[in-house]
Subunit: 243 residues, 2 copies
Amino acid sequence: MKPEKASLSRRAVVVLSGGLDSTTCMAVADRAGYELHPVTFSYGQKHAVELESAKRVAAYYGAAARHRIFDLGGYIRGSALTDPDQPVPTGRSEQEIASEIPSTYVPARNIVFLSLALSYAEAIGAEALYIGVNALDYSGYPDCRPEFLDAFQRVIDVGTVAGAHGAGIRLQAPLVGLTKAEIVRLGSELGAPFELTHSCYQGARPACGICDSCLLRIKGFREAGLADPIPYAVPVDWTPSSG
Amino acid sequence: MKPEKASLSRRAVVVLSGGLDSTTCMAVADRAGYELHPVTFSYGQKHAVELESAKRVAAYYGAAARHRIFDLGGYIRGSALTDPDQPVPTGRSEQEIASEIPSTYVPARNIVFLSLALSYAEAIGAEALYIGVNALDYSGYPDCRPEFLDAFQRVIDVGTVAGAHGAGIRLQAPLVGLTKAEIVRLGSELGAPFELTHSCYQGARPACGICDSCLLRIKGFREAGLADPIPYAVPVDWTPSSG
């Protein structure tokens, strides 16, 4: 765990899944000097093992007591990540992953996550709301794009008392324009605890190494010239690639 | 209960609290010919008795089997409607009610409601999402204004697959520009079952008659020249007023 910091008055709510991106996002918000208030969502995802990673990451940043886990039960569905009869795709090429809306799209997931995180942020007087979305390597998810973030900021500005009458709440998506390799480098520089994270869509430990999420993560580490500290169920060549 | 209709393929999700406005909204969506999919939120509101009204209204419209109740536990808070140590204000004048953000504002409530309703709408292939917000008599709530609805429509259009790649989901707020009296008249004309509804913020049955919500409802019926069919704990003069 990192050393204790002096009490901070500036609060940030961070949407923390327990994966690579949201953990890097925690590192960015931490470096910005915020008191971190992580929120994690249990929504029936097959990779619910990521909740344990989220808890460990929150604890690493000294935020365990402020960590909120929102259980959405079966309220969001219609995705290969949630529905038992839809398999998680595996073994796809980078082109295949990028070419269409993946079946792992969860209807309006980030809108739901941001809304509950926003309500919480407004209730505790937070000035920033961080989310680790990333437009480049997941271009198939519409709720990861800059135009979505701009639209949601507008919702905050006109739809909350904090936005319409107060100092506002800033939506921060520091990874939105980064490649996965750049995220790995940034997190590494900031000392993000990658060894605690979980990304595998199949919820496997060791990670399966063949679902879209594992494939993008492995590619990111290779392009960053680093070896991923988490174990994989398949042999992975960590020789740096040029990307 | 209304007579059974032929099976409809056009679906609408309706945010149904069980109050006057959302019940009128159900009537509008029903008249528009939609198969109604009401969603109701339990969020620790003191007037949880409204959930029973929502169930009765859903049943009235033949939608009991499609009625979803989302339990948000204590995930939204920071309001006189949810927090035990904040009393619900009573006995305020119309000017007082309109002059400031009421303590009954629930942080980002409609954003949270719309987000979960949107996710559900996208999962079931609904083409419309109805919400009974009303800007005129609740001007203190920023998430009831047309500019908020426009901003949320933009979030739908760019942040969902339905919006970004499909036929889209239309946010419908048919009451937004109506006075409470006009809502009462509209609901009455459409045969909305006002006798099943609940509006009192204190959760009282008979309704307290002195909280902001009761006061606005009573005023609406009087201005519409109608008597409210629900009982009140205080004597109410139903002589039509000019408003």
